[in-house]
Symmetry: C2
Subunit: 416 residues, 2 copies
């Protein structure tokens, strides 16, 4: 069972926005056993849409189209779908009523002429109700193939996928099971990891694939299997994991679902243990806090953060001795340790992380080389700081520091 | 001049990672007058690669391929390129030396057998030196068409695009100019904005397109033009902007380059005026701080943030009276105002933003409904708080709150 995702909109092709919808849809389809053959992002152009529809119909059973459903003139998906299916647009009264209600509720105005057009759908389409917006989802069948058109606004698309598309696909198509298991490792490069487990990789059964996903400081190993018998497939993948684990035990930090980062693994561990965390961030500028709080349930373990970006804030809010900063500079092991110690005490937490460094591209408040970073972890047993050289690319320095801080924290959690 | 971007890797299709490379490449190509016809994401599968290469060669002059260049067995791009061009892989001595040096420098070890393979390239390829990694970029010409293969690791890809690909493309191809101008508006919906400027949209010359990009609380209007004469094109777009501005003056907040957010516009304004900012974040959990500090130069205006996630942290660090919290609850106008006032005082800043609310999905430390958010802005003239209902989707509540906070802050900056 194969799907193709088509995302429509010049804003994707000119790089004005990143297409996050496709990853969400890919993951959702996998969860019900549908593989994604291809993702195709195309321009707001009728001829291009028609060509992409025809191509996708050849490659896939299920074609999911996002974008181009707004009420403005640059949105052409609906008209082009009607043309592709030799169909005409008709008014759907339920959609019209829904749009009228949204207008009444949110801006207390009668529906405008432009928005009335949102109620037009191809006569062959089944409407998928969009609870969060005015553009309806559409489901059009052509023999065994199904075309599904969804709005490009992420939360509207997501709710349609979850509430309408997945249940309907599961009902219509018989599907195999797809299972992904991802092992997260920190500390060694892709090729070194690959050499360690080469023999196992060579002996994998044909329906199980191994992939390496290197990132800053980490490598994820993903085993992906497809099969008719879910329990058997689960077991087959587990057998491979049992072979791999002894070979990577020094670098293995945990399992990961498709998008689960180390911050979520840590969140679960801290919550289970009833322990708490505080942060003092300088060069990471709030990104560590943002990572922890992006997941629900953070209030169970996360006390908070002091983003002491300016040196004066380190003195005024974190209460670092000015003398310490003058002696060692803001980018130093001593300052990192004092930051972690003070924030842990202020917030009365079990663990504290502090980051201070120079993310670049210019030197800022410190004389330290761009890319020099100190990370300190404070626990009830004391505080330790580590120095790193993270290169000279701002975004990379910040992300590497975040990953390294998570890695160091997890090691401490294991110990405590 | 048209390009197609092909991104290779199952991790994209199963939704394990979001493809951010394509947006970067799309924007980079636009900057030298190359339009992107299509972005195609495909599986790690030889037949699929060959098909995608052939299809892209039909559609585009320039084919940029990312991913699948690692040293592990799941990486097949290089071999497939050789097959596509009826070519063989040969060892490139300069690449081998570079990989050896990287190994020596970073892990102080001789190069492994697996990594030696990184030096193999198709004999028809010109090597593009990858300063930051072991996988070389490759440039293969076929008549007027150019295939360019790049590693998928973002910072390696980015440096290759900037240092190698763009200069070489600019040298080889005569290109038109592409100009995008984006007007950022806050406060009205897409259809209402569209109705206001309908007459102007209908009268646009054929080589200038208008697009609407709705997001949470904002609509971006993008004018995109293509032409041979850069100065003339710039002027033509400016003429349209001058017509549009009077119609949106109540909602217009500034211009935006392709990805520039309101936080960057604010950063520039504060830096110019020599004014400073402090944050007290609760429900936004550090995301506001992260947005400001993700751009270089933040130290010019950003004092820092107190992410007072736990109620106790609001008392211990922000020094809010416990009594105030008990009387009004943590999610209240009074608490938001006290947070903003206190952080502004603590960090001695010109402006302060505070956020407190319930991002959901569960209620946390407060009885407030999920989605209820208070945002306060403190200035030298006092403090004001605003209440919002942001819906019941965690990610959306956080992002909407961030956007709303930026919008409110900018209005205050204008006033002060």
């Amino acid at each position: 069972m194969q799907a193709e995702i088509i995302t429509i909109g010049d804003e994707i092709l000119i790089g004005q926005i990143v297409d996050t919808n496709s990853a969400f849809i890919g993951k959702a389809l996998n969860s019900i056993g549908v593989s994604v053959y291809q993702i195709t992002s195309i321009q707001d152009d009728k001829a291009h849409l028609l060509k992409a529809f025809a191509e996708a119909e050849k490659n896939a059973d299920i074609i999911i189209i996002t974008g181009g459903l707004g009420p403005t003139k640059d949105d052409i998906t609906k008209h082009t779908l009607a043309e592709y299916f030799n169909d005409t647009l008709i008014q759907d009264d339920a959609v019209l009523k829904h749009v009228e209600q949204l207008f009444k509720k949110y801006i207390n105005q009668p529906i405008s002429d432009v928005n009335k057009k949102q109620a037009l759908v191809p006569s062959k389409a089944k409407v998928l109700t969009n609870r969060f917006g005015t553009a309806p989802g559409m489901w059009i069948e052509k023999g065994d193939k199904t075309f599904i058109s969804l709005p490009g606004v992420p939360y509207e698309m997501k709710s349609l996928i979850e509430l309408e598309v997945l249940p309907k696909l599961a009902e219509k198509y018989k599907r195999p099971f797809i299972i992904h298991k991802t092992l997260l490792t920190y500390g060694l490069g892709e090729s070194v990891v690959a050499e360690r487990i080469e023999a196992i990789e060579d002996g994998l059964p044909k329906h199980i694939k191994l992939a390496y996903l290197p990132a800053l400081g980490s490598v994820r190993l993903r085993l992906s299997g497809i099969g008719e018998d879910e329990a058997k497939l689960e077991q087959e993948i587990q057998i491979e994991i049992v072979k791999i684990l002894p070979l990577i035990q020094d670098i293995f930090v945990g399992y990961q679902d498709n998008t689960e980062g180390l911050e979520l693994i840590i969140s679960k561990q801290l919550t289970q243990k009833g322990q708490t965390l505080a942060l003092a961030e300088s060069c990471t500028g709030g990104k560590l806090a943002e990572q922890f709080t992006s997941h629900s349930g953070a209030s169970a373990f996360f006390k908070g953060a002091i983003v002491s970006y300016a040196t004066q804030t380190k003195i005024d809010v974190l209460e670092l001795p000015e003398d310490l900063i003058n002696r060692f500079s803001v980018v130093s092991s001593e300052v990192a340790k004092a930051m972690a110690t003070n924030v842990r005490k202020k917030m009365n937490s079990d663990f504290a992380i502090a980051t201070t460094g120079n993310a670049g591209p210019t030197k800022g408040d410190s004389d330290a080389e761009v890319g020099t970073v100190f990370i300190a972890i404070a626990t009830k047993n004391g505080v330790e700081a580590h120095e790193f050289t993270m290169g000279n690319h701002r975004e990379r320095v910040i992300n590497k520091t975040v990953n390294k801080a998570l890695e160091l924290l997890q090691k401490e959690i294991f110990k405590n």
